[in-house]
Symmetry: C2
DNA sequence: TCTTTCTGCTACATAAAATGTAGCAACTGT
DNA sequence: ACAGTTGCTACATTTTATGTAGCAGAAAGA
C-alpha cells in the first residue's frame, strides 16, 4: 500500500501504484509541469510563465507534492526532474508523438 | 491549431497538440476513466463504481468531452475506447509498469 | 554600503470546479 | 403492468484554483 502524507486518497482505495499515479498525474497542471521540466530546468517564476501563468499558490502546491513523491527536485539552478521524474517523462514521451496524429485526425 | 468547442484553452495558447492533450488528460478523473475503459467496456453506472463512485455529473461531463475528442465511444455495450483511445492507452501502458518501481522506491 | 533585481514563496478574497444526493425519462425483460 | 435496468440531469454544498499583492532572503552592480 502506497500512502502519501497530506495527499488525497481519491482513486487510491486499492492502493495500487498505478491508481495513485493516475490520481497524482490527474491533478490540474501536474502533467504540464512535468512536461515543462522535461524540456529543461527552470526557476519558479520561469516555470510559472511557461505554464501559461499558473497561480503561484498552486504551482508551489504541486511542486511540493512532486518533490515529496521524488519526481522533482530543487537546486541552485531551480526546479528540475529527479532521476525518477526523468524516467517517468521518458515513458510519457511516446504520447507526444501520438498527439500529433490525434490532432490531425480531429 | 486545435480548437475544441466548449473546452477551456488553459495551457493551449500555443495550440500545440501535446499541450491540448496534457490539458485534457490533466483534468480530474480523465486519466482514470481512460485507464478503466482500457481494462474493459462498461456501462455508465459500472464505470462510475470502478472510478470509486465519482459523481455522475462529472463522469458525464468527462465522457462527453472524451467522446467529442474521439477517444471514447458509446454503443449497446456501454462506454469503451475508440480506436484512437485504444492507441493512446497503449502508449500509456509503459507507465503502468513504471509505477510499480516507483512505488517500491517511495 | 546601498540599491536593484532576482529568488522561492505566502495571504487572501473571488471564481470555478467537483461532490453527494435525489430523481427523471427511456428501454428491457417478466 | 411492473421491476429493474439504462444514461443522464438538477442543485445545494464543499473543495479547489485563480489573481493580485507582497514578504523575506540572496546575489549582483554601483
Amino acid at each position: 500500500m502506497v500512502k502519501i502524507p497530506g495527499q488525497s486518497t481519491r482513486g487510491s482505495r486499492t492502493g495500487r501504484p498505478i491508481m495513485v499515479l493516475l490520481d497524482v498525474l490527474g491533478q490540474r497542471w501536474t502533467l504540464r509541469i512535468l512536461w515543462e521540466l522535461h524540456q529543461s530546468r527552470a526557476s519558479f517564476r520561469t516555470l510559472q510563465e511557461r505554464c501559461d501563468g499558473v497561480s503561484p499558490t498552486l504551482l508551489n502546491k504541486r511542486l511540493k507534492n512532486l518533490r515529496s513523491l521524488n519526481l522533482v527536485d530543487l537546486d541552485k539552478d531551480g526546479y528540475g526532474l529527479s532521476a525518477m521524474g526523468q524516467s517517468l517523462t521518458e515513458r510519457l514521451a511516446p504520447v507526444g508523438a501520438w498527439a500529433k496524429d490525434w490532432a490531425d485526425q480531429l
